[in-house]
Amino acid sequence: MSKKDFLGRLLQMVLVLLGVSFIAFSLMHLSPGDPAEAMLKSGGQVASPELLAATRAELGLDRPFLAQYGAWLFDVFRGDLGISYSSKQPVATRMMDFFPATLKLTLASLVMMLCVAVPAGVVAAVYHDRWPDYLIRSLTFLGVSVPNFWVGLMLLSFFALKLMMVSVVSTGQGLRDLFLPALTLAFAMSAKYTRQVRTAVLEELNQDYVLGAEVRGESRLVILCREVLPNAVLPLITLLGLSLGSLLGGTAVVEIIFSWPGLGNLAVQAISARDYPMVQGYVLWISLVYMVINFAVDVSYNYLDPRLRGVSR
């Protein structure tokens, strides 16, 4: 990717991010309730009209919408996401406390998913339309039809209640606690990704160069490892970036089930407590992470594919 393309893409991302911040900020105004009232209530105070008016003024809610947004955005740029209504701590601090657990969970499930999906997808493609392919396809089919929270609860009831192997409430520490939530999250993702790996490898296997290599008498295994897989990796990286989105969304559900002390758990609690700054911060932060990852994927894609490198110069 040339420097110009890179900067263009970066600029585009910043613009989209501005829009994203606007949507995240507007979320608060979707709510039928009054934020000032919500804040007072979560603090356990009685909302008298005078107190309400004072709180509204303090939060800047009496100002026009765009002025509020501008002030909020200005603070966000300085890393200040506001103060959480329920915990009275800065949102940014709270999120940084909970983020490592989510990151750990996401990465662990990503690794698990790759360990399952890549071999399964390759096997399905190589044995195209024979029994291993049918078996793997049926399994992935089942995988995409199962709600992940149900899988989580079934695993929990089996391992924690029947076998007493893990505790029901996880602390977010240690590998034992990590295993079940990560497995749950990896479950549905592996099904989707196996299909994508299969399609990508199948596409490469149908290319002329594979036929050529076969004619030259190279063994299938050599062709697969040396030529097909490196080529199939490219589209798979892009898809991986996109799957991260569903992974990040899935964490909320899984974290709740396993009482995992992560961002998703924090966000759902914030929603039920009408803790608006927290919700805004969560949406903004997750979108930022997601966009940066996809941006990195875009850039690496251009870097990894020599054909694209040639074009942009």
């Binding site: 989209v16 709510s31 039928p32 199962v146 709600p147 609860l153 079934m154 990040l248 949406v283 979108s287």
Partner: protein, 267 residues
């Protein structure tokens, strides 16, 4: 291929008739509580057991088909209409309006879908309608992009140019000539999406951000079953099995529809 399609179509019809005829099929009412039978294990009177209020789980699952189907159909229909309409305008007219619509959909796509859906549903307050709105709000850009790209392709065809030259109005070209051509692809996408929409809606209800108690909705029923996971596991198992079965039926139906209408995709 047609036989496969017919089988899955018949299964879909069965699921839909279960939803429509639930009062006739269900052995008991969805709200008939008998506190004496609270958390009763599966037995002759309660084939799948009873919940904490002593309501028959089987009946509630049968009634739950209604909520699940109506919510997912509502989402799929509204995203196809909104998304396709915006995509048609965007692709056909291009220029400024195209830019506005596409940038807006870029923004919506920049969010991981479920995260935004959780936030929207949470902010609007929990109800089945709000869950539908939330999932719709994060899903339409997919249809807009799809239909826009299809319009751009169709626009260059000779028959469209012919229609324009013979003086057809923009509205007539878009709805009379372009829409029928892109419709099958949109339909396939919509049908294959029913299953995943169902899962997303169930997840929202499970988080307490969708259907509200006491309505029989599968995600909500599983949410209510959580505290009794050890004492009454059937409350968790069967609604989940119901979701899996119905989602699988619609996924199979969608796949077979795609294979039939678009043979390139098969295999």
């Amino acid at each position: 291929m047609r036989a496969r399609f017919a089988v899955f179509a018949a299964m879909c019809v069965m699921v839909i008739s279960v939803a429509l005829l639930s009062p006739a099929i269900a052995p008991k009412g969805a709200f008939d509580a008998t506190m004496r039978d609270s958390l009763k294990a599966p037995c002759a009177e309660y084939p799948l057991g009873a919940d904490k209020m002593g309501r028959d789980l089987l009946s509630r699952i049968i009634y739950g088909t209604r909520a699940s189907l109506s919510m997912s159909f509502a989402v799929v229909i509204s995203v196809s209409i909104i998304g396709t309409f915006l995509g048609l305008i965007s692709g056909y007219f291009g220029g400024f309006i195209d830019g506005v619509i596409m940038r807006f959909s870029d923004m919506m796509i920049a969010f991981p879908g479920m995260v935004l859906a959780i936030a929207i549903a949470g902010m609007l307050g929990s109800s089945a309608t709000n869950a539908v709105i939330a999932v719709t709000a994060v899903t339409w850009p997919k249809y807009t992009r799809l239909s826009r790209s299809l319009v751009l392709k169709a626009k260059t065809s000779l028959y469209i140019q012919g229609a324009r030259l013979s003086g057809a109005t923009s509205g007539r070209v878009v709805f009379g000539y372009i829409l029928p051509v892109i419709f099958p692809t949109i339909l396939i996408t919509a049908v294959t999406d029913i299953g995943s929409m169902m899962l997303e809606l169930a997840a929202l209800s499970f988080l307490g951000l969708g259907a509200r108690a006491p309505s029989p909705e599968w995600g909500l029923m599983m949410n209510e079953a959580r505290p009794y996971l050890a004492r009454a596991p059937w409350l968790m198992v069967y609604p989940g099995v119901a979701v899996i079965m119905v989602v699988a039926v619609f996924n199979l139906f969608g796949d077979s529809l795609r294979d039939m209408l678009d043979p390139r995709h098969s295999g």
